[in-house]
């Protein structure tokens, strides 16, 4: 490494959503580190990304304020921010605030850093779209849509969630994307997916006065469970079976739920109690266990792990009872545009007949891209095309080391290219929410800062 000799360590973070802002904040916490961070975000605002840009008050965080601090070692940072603004009280720290509030918090964390760092020049924000990332002999080069390019020593990809529907669902759109224009409130709508994103979309539609029938389709048609205050069980790593086949682990897990229930607890206490070990469990599994989990167990796991606050759960259940929302377990066979409508051919689970659903809009709320290489993110695609990155073996994210270094097509970890956040789900699995992303960011920040010199 000749980074120190050439002066400041220049780190380019691509993506100024929650993950990118958290990484910048953790990097800058070390006041002496001689670094220069450039944070690139195509939206005009930083800290929002796909997750926190929603304006709807019903779109609340599904982690309480105590889990959402930007810094894991300062867990009340966000709570204090809320209390200062009268949005929470000290005696009720387990408050679930709207996601837009969290976006404001992150923007302010960044704003404060920019204020204090501005003169030292350690942080630069750039509202531009990035189109490609490549390595050069000396470092990295990041090309922007406006034709300019940036050079640095290290690039970190923090592009989070896919914004475009996957290629096989081209007639569908992601909610909140530019194509999500108003529709006739009486028109039928089809939503692909039945998880929390579907619930978000359902809430957005009804908040906008939508009255038409909403059909939500997924392989099993399972809807997220309800949140309940509980007492997560205490576990140590020494208690958790690691490295086993999936069926062995599932047997252990079910037994633990039974034991916990016998002692007056609830399955939620087990699901929440095991959460600190989810990454370690995932990383310990052989490939076969991971593949089987994604194929067979994940849908079941997700509805228990990612739950809805009671008010929202009640509304969803009521909408189902009143036939405003129909959950369908089945498969999408084909979807095409017919005039100003869409026609979707579906087959219900365990039913041989094919059914056609007509809808004015099809939303893609399926979450994880089934094949990352077939995804629509141009930066990810450019990296894969050049052999600088490769999809993980399950093709749900980029292949990275536990230290977040991207693996090239030859399997060698890069010293210059890193990825954080949901893009690394193949290696970390439990890396969708702030409590996990902030820990990942703290680790990568420590690693990168150790490669930088001390500011004069």
């Amino acid at each position: 490494m000749n980074e120190r000799a050439s002066g400041r360590l220049a780190i380019i973070i691509v993506g100024g959503g929650a993950s990118g802002v958290l990484l910048a904040a953790h990097l800058l916490r070390n006041r002496e580190a001689d670094i220069r961070i450039t944070l690139i975000e195509k939206r005009q605002v930083f800290g929002q990304g796909v997750a926190y840009s929603t304006e709807l008050a019903d779109h609340v965080l599904n982690v309480s304020a105590l889990g959402m601090s930007a810094y894991a070692d300062d867990p009340e940072h966000f709570l204090h921010w809320l209390i200062e603004r009268g949005l929470a009280t000290a005696d009720n720290p387990r408050v679930y605030v709207p996601r837009s509030v969290y976006g404001e918090y992150l923007a302010e964390v960044l704003g404060d850093l920019r204020g204090s760092e501005g003169e030292q020049g350690r942080l630069h924000l750039l509202s531009e779209e990035c189109v490609s990332v490549a390595t050069t002999t000396a470092g990295v080069e990041v090309k922007l849509a406006n034709g300019a390019s940036l050079v640095g020593h290290i690039a970190v990809l923090a592009v989070g969630h896919e914004e475009q529907p996957s290629i096989e669902k081209t007639v569908a759109i992601r909610p909140g994307s530019p194509g999500d224009t108003p529709i006739d409130p009486d028109d039928p709508v089809l939503i692909l997916g039945t998880g929390l994103s579907m619930v978000d979309t359902f809430l957005s539609l009804t908040a906008g006065g939508h009255r038409g029938k909403i059909t939500a389709l997924s392989r099993r048609g399972l809807v997220p469970s309800i949140h309940q205050a509980g007492r997560p069980i205490r576990l140590d790593a020494a208690d958790v079976p690691l490295g086993t086949d999936l069926s062995y682990f599932v047997r252990w897990f079910r037994q633990l739920v039974r034991d916990t229930e016998r002692n007056g607890g609830d399955w939620r206490d087990v699901v929440d109690g095991i959460r600190p070990f989810n990454q370690r469990i995932w990383q310990s599994w052989p490939h076969g266990a991971k593949r089987r989990f994604i194929e067979h167990t994940r849908a079941w796991w997700d509805i228990h792990r990612h739950r809805m606050p009671p008010e929202l759960h009640e509304r969803v259940i009521r909408a189902i009872a009143e036939d405003e929302l129909e959950l369908v377990a089945g498969k999408l066979l084909e979807a095409k545009r017919v005039g100003d409508r869409f026609e979707a051919k579906i087959r219900r689970r365990h039913v041989p007949a094919i059914e056609t659903i007509s809808a004015a809009r099809i939303y893609d709320c399926t979450g994880i891209t089934t094949d990352l290489a077939a995804g629509t993110n141009p930066i990810v695609r450019s990296l894969i095309d050049r052999g600088l990155a490769r999809p993980d073996p399950l093709r749900i994210g980029l292949d990275v080391t536990p230290q977040c270094a991207m693996l090239g097509s030859d399997g060698q970890p890069s010293e210059r290219l890193f990825a954080i956040g949901p893009l690394t789900r193949g290696a970390f699995f439990e890396i969708e929410a702030i409590p996990d992303i902030r820990v990942q960011c703290a680790g990568l920040a420590r690693q990168l800062v150790s490669r930088a010199g001390i500011a004069a």
């Binding site: 069980i233 205490r234 576990l235 140590d236 790593a237 020494a238 208690d239 958790v240 079976p241 690691l242 490295g243 086993t244 086949d245 062995y248 633990l256 034991d259 310990s284 052989p286 076969g288 266990a289």
Partner: protein, 149 residues
């Protein structure tokens, strides 16, 4: 505490890790070579198979082999399957908790420290692979031979 079951299981895995990749071993051969009662070894290998560490084939040419590379099998993971949660004394476990008859666990200082010890056990055993365990033993033998020469 590592029970006899845990120890025998690890010895059997080391035995399998010394064979060429994919080659099956007879239970009887493993038992004789490692001085393990055969019936007990049958039960142990059955549990290791259920957890996915070894594979078996039935019949005259049947036997056991590793389901993964020795470098991909961690010692701590095997011990949890055979002996349950890693714990120096039975009360120092959270899922298989067995209270002692003669003390109050809430105020027991011994238990408190043993909960810390189990983290250290996990730290060591989860970072050692079967390959390392096999090679460490061989290295020691080689070192001993050199020393004697």
């Amino acid at each position: 505490m590592l029970t006899k079951k845990g120890k025998y299981g690890l010895k059997a895995l080391v035995h399998l890790s010394e064979l060429p990749q994919g080659q099956l071993a007879f239970v009887n051969d493993i038992a004789v070579a490692n001085n393990i009662p055969k019936k007990f070894l049958d039960a142990i290998l059955g549990e290791l198979r259920n957890a996915g560490f070894v594979q078996s084939r039935k019949g005259k040419d049947g036997g056991y082999r590793l389901a993964r590379l020795p470098a991909d099998i961690k010692i701590g993971h095997v011990v949890r399957v055979l002996d349950g949660p890693l714990a120096p004394i039975p009360c120092a476990s959270r899922t298989q908790y067995q209270p002692c008859e003669d003390c109050d666990e809430a105020t027991c200082q011994v238990r408190h420290m043993m909960l810390e010890v189990r983290q250290a056990i996990a730290e060591v055993l989860d970072n050692r692979s079967l390959a390392q365990m096999r090679d460490a033993a061989n290295d020691d033998v080689l070192a001993g031979i050199k020393y004697q020469i």
